[in-house]
Every structure is written in C-alpha cells, then in structure tokens.
Subunit: 402 residues, 3 copies
C-alpha cells in the first residue's frame, strides 16, 4: 500500500498525470438521470438485491466513488451515498457526464456500442463531453449483437453464416470500426474446440439455434421474450464468430475473467485459448480485456504470443485506487511493455471514466516511480512505459493517428 | 509487509483489538494433553513424516506459534519447539486451553461438531474456556457425518434419502444448530452436476455405496475398517446432500480450497459451483470457508451472488500474521463488506483460536488503518467494516442475537 | 516494493549475500558469441517477432538485464540494448560467461543436459567458469530426450519400454546423474491418468508413436523433419516415463507452469498430479520447477506431500529483482522451510545465473530481514531458512556432499 494522504509526487507521477489516455475499450453512459436503483445496479457486477440490506455502496468500488468522485460533485470526500445521489440528481446527467469524463483526461475513446440495455450516449457525445479539442471516438463492433440481430431478422440456417459475415462487414464499414469484440467468455467460455467449424457444422448449429423457442437452443436459465433475438450460446456458432473475426482482419477484443454471474469463471481462464491462438497466429491482434483474476495467465499469453495484448480495465475501478497498483504489478510481472493497454471499461455512469483513469494513473505511477527511486528503472524508460501503456500501444494496435 | 516490532497503533488497531469476534466456523480442542507427535500432527495439513527430519515447526505456522503463542505460556518469543512442548505439558491442557481461548477475544463460537478423530471439548466448554461472561456457543451440523451415520446404522438403499433427511432434521433440532456444513470439496470436488438428483438416482447411488466392502463404493486409496461407516464420496449422494441443505433452509458452510492431501485442489475452485448457485438462488446462504488459494474466486462469487459469503479462516493461522494482510487484501479486493466473515477454523489445539484472531485483527487493522491514513477510507467506514467482518455479518447470516 | 537505491543492509542481507548456492536446476550456456537475434531469442519465452517492432529488451527481464547485468560488462546501469550487445561481443563469450557465472556465487550446478538446440558449455565448464575452487557440477537426465533417442535409433514397439528403461539407467549411470527431469508439462500436461500403464498399453502406444510420419503420432502443429526422433507426446508413454522415474529411484524434476507457448497453462496446474502423488508416496522426491503462476498450488503440494518440493527458478529472472520478493512471499506462504529450493533455470546466456541468484538473494533477504526487524522471526531462524533454501535442502534431496 503506497497510497498516502499527500498527493504522490515525482517526475513519473507528473508525467502520468498529464498523459492523454487512449481508452481502448469503453461504453456509452446514461443519457438520462438514473434512479437510485439504476445507479446502484450500475456500480456492481452483482444485482441490486432489494431487501437484503446490502448496499452496493458498501464495497471497494462504493468507497472509491465516495472518496474520489464525490469531490467532483462539490461534495466532501467520503460523502454518504444519499448525499452523493442527491447531488448527482441536482446537477443533472449532462453536467455529471461532462465533469467525470473531462476529469479522465482521455483523448481517444474506442466504444463498444453493442450492449445497450440502457439509453446511452453515442461515441461522439462521449468525445464531446470530454471537453478536449483533440478528443476522438471510434466504434468497436460487438459480434454477438450482430449475430443475434441477423437471427432476429430471420434467416435460414444455411444462410446464417454468410449473412452474419456480411452483416459484420457492413457494420464495420458503416461505423468505421477499429475493432470487433466478442463476449464468448459469457456464452461458452474459452474451452472451445480451436478448429474452424465446417460450413455444414455451422448450418446444423444454426438450425438448432434458430429453432422456435421451446424446441431447443436456449441458454440454461436465460429467459427470452417472444420475438427477442435468441441468445447466441452455441459452441459451434461461437467458434464461427471467432473465426469470422480472424477473416475480418480487425483486432479482436475478448471479454476475459471478471464480470457478472453469467460467467463461469473457471471456463474463462484465457489459457484455454492457447490452441486457438496457435492456429490464428499471424492473423489478427487479440486483446484480453479485464482479465482479473487471470491477469497472470493473460500476461503469460501476451508474453509468448506476438498477437496477444491485455488490459485490466473494469478491474481497476472495482478494486479502486488502493489495489490498482497490486493488480498492475501482477499484470506487468513478466509482460513486454508493448503488451499492456489502458481501458476503463466504463459503462453507464461517467464516474468510471474518471475512476478508471485515476486508478490506472496512480497505480502505474506508484509502481514506476518506486522503481525509478530504487534505481531499478531509468527515468526515460519509466516515461516510455507510461506513454506506451496509456496511449501508444493502443495507437499501434488499432492504427490510430497520434 | 507492514508488520513492525512496535505494536501497531491508531484508532482502527484499537477498535479491532477490542472487537468481540464471532467465530463462525471452528472446532473443539483436545480435552487431553497431546503427545509431541499429536501436537505436531495438529499444526500441519500434511502428515508428520516420521524419519524425514522435517519438523512441522519449521514452517510459517510453526514460526508463528513460537513467536505469538509462546509468550502466553510464559516463554520468551521464539522459544524452541522443545521448550514450547515442555512448558505446554507442564501447564496442562485445561490451563493451556483457557489461556489461548481467552486471548482470542471471541464471544460467539459456531462449532462444527462432526469431525472427531480426537476427544474434543464440547461447544459449551469452548465458551466456558473463553472466560467471557457473554460467550455463547452454537453447533454446526456436518452433513457427511450424518449421512455416514445413517449408513453405519444400516439402511435400505431406497430408504437412504428419507433417512438422511430425517436424521439431518433431528440433528439440527436436537442441537439447535445454526448452520450445516459440507466437505463436498473433499469427497468429489465442486465440478458436480448442479441439478437435483432424482429419487431413483439417489436410490441407485445408495445401493452402490451401501454395498458390502469390496463390491464397490470405496474411495480410491481410502482404507476402511470393517464395520466403519463407508465414506460418502458418490457424486450423486454428494449432490443429494447439498440439495438436502437447500431444503433444510439453514446456512450452508462449504469447505473450499486449502486442506490436507485428500483435496484435489483443481476441483475445488468454488466457481465450479456457479450453476448450482444459480439454481439455488433465493434459498439458503452459502458460506465459503478458508478459500486459499481461491480467495479471489470466492470473492467474485460473493460479489455476484446475493447468497454467497466467504472467510479466510484456517488460511490466516497457517500463513501467520506476516501474510494475513496480503490474504485479506485479496479477499477484499472487490468484495462487498457485508460478505466477509471471520472464522478461526481452529481444530485440536487452542493456539489456533488465539493465532487466528490475532492474524485477522492485525491484518484487517493494518489494511484499514493504512487506508484511513491515506484518506482513502473514512474512519467511521473503517470501524464499520471492522465490526461487520469480525462480528455483525455472522450475526446477520446466522440470525444470532447481538 | 522494498527495493531501494541504497544496497539493502542488515545481518540477513549479509548472510544471504555470502551464501554459496546450490543451483539444483540449470542448463549450459552458449559456447559461442550469440548474434543479436540469438541473444534476443534467449531472453524471452516468446519468439523474437521480427518486424513487430517489439524488442525482447522492452520487458521486465530486459530492464533487469540492463540494470543489473550491464555493470558486470563495465557499462553504466541502464545501458541501452545496443550498447549492451556491442560490449558483450567485444568481451567475447568466454569472458562474459566467466563474469556472470562467477557473480552468481554458486557452488553446485545440477545441469539438465537434455535440451540442446544450441551448442552449450558442459557441466564441468560451468563449474570451471564460476572460478570457485569448491564448485561442482552434476547432471540431470532429461527423460524425454532419452525416450526420443531410443525411438530415433529404431526400436520395435514391444521393445520400447525395456529399451527406454535400459537407456535411462545407462544414462544415469554413465553420467552419475543426481536426478532425472521430465517435461511432461509440455507434452501432455498433468491431467493424466495416474495409474501405471500396462505393458500392453505401452506397446500399443509405442506402435502409434513409432509409426512412420504421416500415419499418426505427431504433435498438433509440430513440424518434424524426416529422420528426427519423433516428439514424445503420447499420454500413455508420458505416464510410462513418469513411472519409470519412480522405479529408477532418483529425484524427479518436473517442469511446472511458466514456459514458452508450447505449454497449455491450464493443464499444468501441479495439483492435477495429486492422485499420482498419492500412488507414488514413499518412493521418489518430486521437485516442481518454476511453478509461476501456480506457486501457491505448488506450495500446497509441498505442504501436504512429504516427497514434494518446489522452486521458483526461471520465474525470478523473468520478473526481476523488483518482483522476486512478491513471488517468494507467495511461494513461502504456507510452505515448510525444508521444501523450497533455489534454482536459476539459466539457459543459454550466463546473465541468468547472475540475475537468478541476485533476485533470489535479494527477494529472500528482504522478506526475512523485514520479519526479523518486526520481531516476527528470530535472527537464527532467518539464517537457517536462508541456508536451507539456498543450499541445504538441495543437498539433502540429492544426497550431495556439504
């Protein structure tokens, strides 16, 4: 625990504090004032548990919000949850969004636009809220959303594969996407057959998946309303989706590890992807997102596969600044410095833009400054590692202008 | 490493030092003077390894005993193992039990009474040994012991299910138990079919299990004497046992992770329980015990499932005060503060009551005090987190009087 | 992070700095001047990735080389990679080998001679390069190399088992080997059937394995030249290899965890060996090498099985001195002090002899000194733990003269 009440100082802290970030994986935030219940639901990967007496504020992320976000709402540090929500409502969502997104110091937003249970800001609105003249936003196309859209619009099983591929290409082209993303972790886990499925296998799997509700293809326990696109969780179709990403040629972001209780954590150890990574070597970049508690496993893959990268987004705001350094230490234990990227994985509330950036900057600066102070690392190297991980690595992977 | 030779000070250290603990999972201690061999066997999860030249005292827990327990026997810090055992014998088990149990500062003992290879103190004797007027003891019924008792007394396969259910209910009622416990981790691991087994499946499994020795149903490598109740390790019957706990409605304690070499560690990652937790959502509380090296996985489950709680009992005295904070940091990384409980998992020797409490208090206080000192946490929040984890969370889960 | 720019001091640092090490698992180093490409390939577990713009020096191990190895080449700390390679070439491999191997302070080298893609120094040359009069070198026989040699020379399937056993015995006798080693982790992982394969099973597996190329038995993706001994990756033959080690009676070293991308990391969690360890209890010592990220799982096995030992070789130089203590803290969390050994796992470049020793000495000394300073450990105990882990435990396991 290197945090102290006085702001940490030193050349690295200053360099990292002033570094414009590339947030290579994030989401829109609410374009509305959330009810307390909605806000609660957005700050936990659990559910809200009404009647339990357990507030989502009583958690590391809740403490971090009250400590680090409250002051941006003109509240004292450690304001109560009630005060926090009241002041937030008073300011209104536009002002709240502006304050927190501006505080992140992010120049580039790569926005996964495929998860929209709430009405969210657009990528352009995110960039605008930052108040930074240089800010830019790019889209990341979520493949499962495309696949489920194809299914929802109606498609014959033997046309599914080509329709999905075409829809993906169209989405990427229309939105000028810089990457695609898969939540295969949520749907099947990573312990998949690494081989490319045959056309016949895909057709057969699509037939099962597209069968009318009640005749098969449903997730265990998932409730689907009539007319809702079916949830893509067939292992053959998930494999097909991953191989479609390979053919597409854009970097592929993969949800890895931490998430809500739809995850079977033991199946999302990313080293289950090893055979698939061998087969797809020399094709697309693969970006492992979040990774906790598998940050060491992700770091191993990033060390031994040229095409693999990782971040600890989402994790950092959930553990908060008090543990960000510990997580980054593990994520960087053996990792080539070209392989770690920054993301907030902010979703729904703008606080996570600020909190993710704060946790990343502080954790990384503490780690690097201590190494410089101990003469384990030169100052120029430390500056370079900070710039690479916070910005330049993402620019390289996604081909973004500097 | 925040330990220092001067006793740590500060308001949190004082608050935590004075907090009466609820030890939500513990065992009796010897009601006899142990031989050196017995004492050795009780301080390691390994065996004693006679002739190996390896003393169980030459380990983190052995060092912690010599450092932190010796002074309670009027010995200097770091007394030798020989001095330690001699002085212990001199004082006699009643005095030794009194000193260490009193030093724990525990008000409530929830005692698993189902594991009795040694003659142990009763729950009431534990409470009495604490010397605390307010001390209370409750029982936790170990389900495998009940099941094996039913089998040992003789039962027809098709009557096993109802006999086990009835025996469990009787045991819970007679002993006014506050919880039940399963060691499914030792018997099958957690990678079980999550569904409730059918009556026919249970009868068929009971038929295999209850068959005369030599005709099946034995654990690999386990040696059973004739007439001993067979060891319950059939996956169908273990599932039935877990579902019986659900029907019973009491909180269920689950051994998780660290233990002796009967564990197959890779099968007791608690995230293997995810599907079962989905199916039993809204029913009983599930308390993951010990958890190391899966404290992060357990924390994940406690974060995303309303009914899941965790502790790092057993782990804390084995790693000792020098690593207690590191383990607690991981256990609390993302965890709602309502979800961590205290237990010693002391068994056999009273030293583990004192050592477990010391490691917990010191590790938690260091963690919280540093966060308060860094203004990452308010002092009232820190006090609240300490009281919740050390006492109040257990009172809520088990419905104990405050 | 306890590293500081001033050299750490205190009696433990001094004792550990002066301790002659037993390096119980290491390899030869190049007996030639490496090209920059070769040097790059030897400092990463990844490949070199030409054209990627990613230098293997831009990593924790690269930073450590520039910081801690450059001064032994008369360069300033943090010299550039270019300066480093130029000066290295200038000095020539004999001088470079001498400097780094002497700096390790190693008295005993147990050398795995079975991995030789490069021309390497012999064990005797390693000992000679140390410049230490007392230095000695012993061989460790790699079993897969023996098996593949037997296959390469031509053998009938039904004679494979006895030929392999005989060749192993011959190799051990001729080289006076102190141990054997298996890379089963690379070939099948540890999730193997724990039972001894029958003769018929071995013959049948040998038949498949020895079949002409193109008719089966090849590793997925592995390219074999005609005439090259086939790669042993049949699960039955790997089991036979492990049981042959049991019959042989020498300590068995097992690659565990971290390595190149031939590993399927999720299959090399060493707790998959639990059933095999039960079956082989009372026979040979089993030494788990490297272990990261499974150092806690390895420590668990070493705690509960008399015959199991571990080290964190390879890991220590890859994470570098800045993280060596953190890894050692996890490796020692519950571990009997008789169970941790030192190894460098240096291969190819002599820098890893020095860097591994430095990281081990510093990490261990920091850990122990802080515990002594906090009065958590007595000074004599700390000295004993240092001597045991750095030297004496290996002498006991391998029966080496002191």
């Amino acid at each position: 625990m290197s945090s102290s009440s006085a702001p940490a100082t030193g050349p690295i802290h200053e360099a990292v504090a002033g570094l414009p970030l590339v947030d290579h994986h994030c989401h829109g935030v609410l374009a509305a004032d959330p009810s307390p219940e909605t806000f609660h639901s957005l700050i936990t990967e659990g559910d809200v548990w009404p009647g339990s007496g357990i507030s989502p504020f009583d958690s590391p992320v809740g403490v971090a919000l009250r400590r680090h976000c409250a002051p941006l709402l003109d509240l004292p540090r450690h304001a109560t949850a009630t005060e926090y929500l009241a002041r937030r409502a008073e300011l209104g969502w536009r002002e709240v969004n502006r304050r927190f997104i501006a505080a992140a110091g992010t120049d580039v937003f790569c926005v996964d636009t495929g998860y929209t249970p709430h009405r969210l800001t657009t990528p352009a609105e995110l960039a605008g809220a930052s108040g930074r003249p240089a800010a830019a936003a790019y889209e990341v196309v979520r493949l499962e959303t495309i696949a489920e859209g194809v299914a929802g619009e109606g498609v014959e099983p033997d046309e599914y594969a080509s329709a999905f591929v075409a829809a993906t290409r169209d989405a990427v082209d229309e939105r000028r996407a810089v990457a695609v993303k898969s939540v295969a972790a949520y749907r099947t886990g990573f312990d998949l057959d690494p081989s490319r499925p045959s056309d016949a296998d895909v057709t057969e799997a699509a037939r099962r998946w597209l069968a009318p509700a009640g005749t098969g293809g449903k997730a265990d326990g998932a409730e689907e309303e009539t007319g809702t696109p079916p949830r893509l969780n067939d292992p053959v179709l998930v494999r097909h989706l991953l191989w479609t990403a390979v053919d597409l040629g854009l970097p592929l972001q993969l949800h890895t590890g931490f998430g809500d209780n739809d995850i079977r954590m033991h199946r999302v150890d990313p080293t289950h992807l090893t055979d698939w990574l061998h087969r797809t070597s020399g094709t697309i970049a693969v970006l492992l997102l979040h990774c906790w508690p598998y940050q060491r496993q992700a770091a191993y893959l990033a060390t031994v596969f040229e095409q693999v990268y990782l971040d600890v987004g989402l994790t950092l705001h959930h553990v908060g600044p008090v543990r960000a350094r510990a997580i980054l230490e593990e994520a960087l234990e053996i990792t080539p410095f070209r392989k770690l990227l920054y993301s907030s994985d902010a979703y729904g509330i703008p606080e996570f833009y600020q909190l993710g950036a704060l946790a990343f900057r502080r954790g990384l600066a503490e780690l690097l400054q201590d190494r410089v102070d101990a003469d384990e690392l030169s100052l120029p190297d430390a500056r370079r590692i900070a710039a690479w991980t916070g910005r330049d690595n993402a620019c390289r992977v996604y081909g973004l202008p500097r």
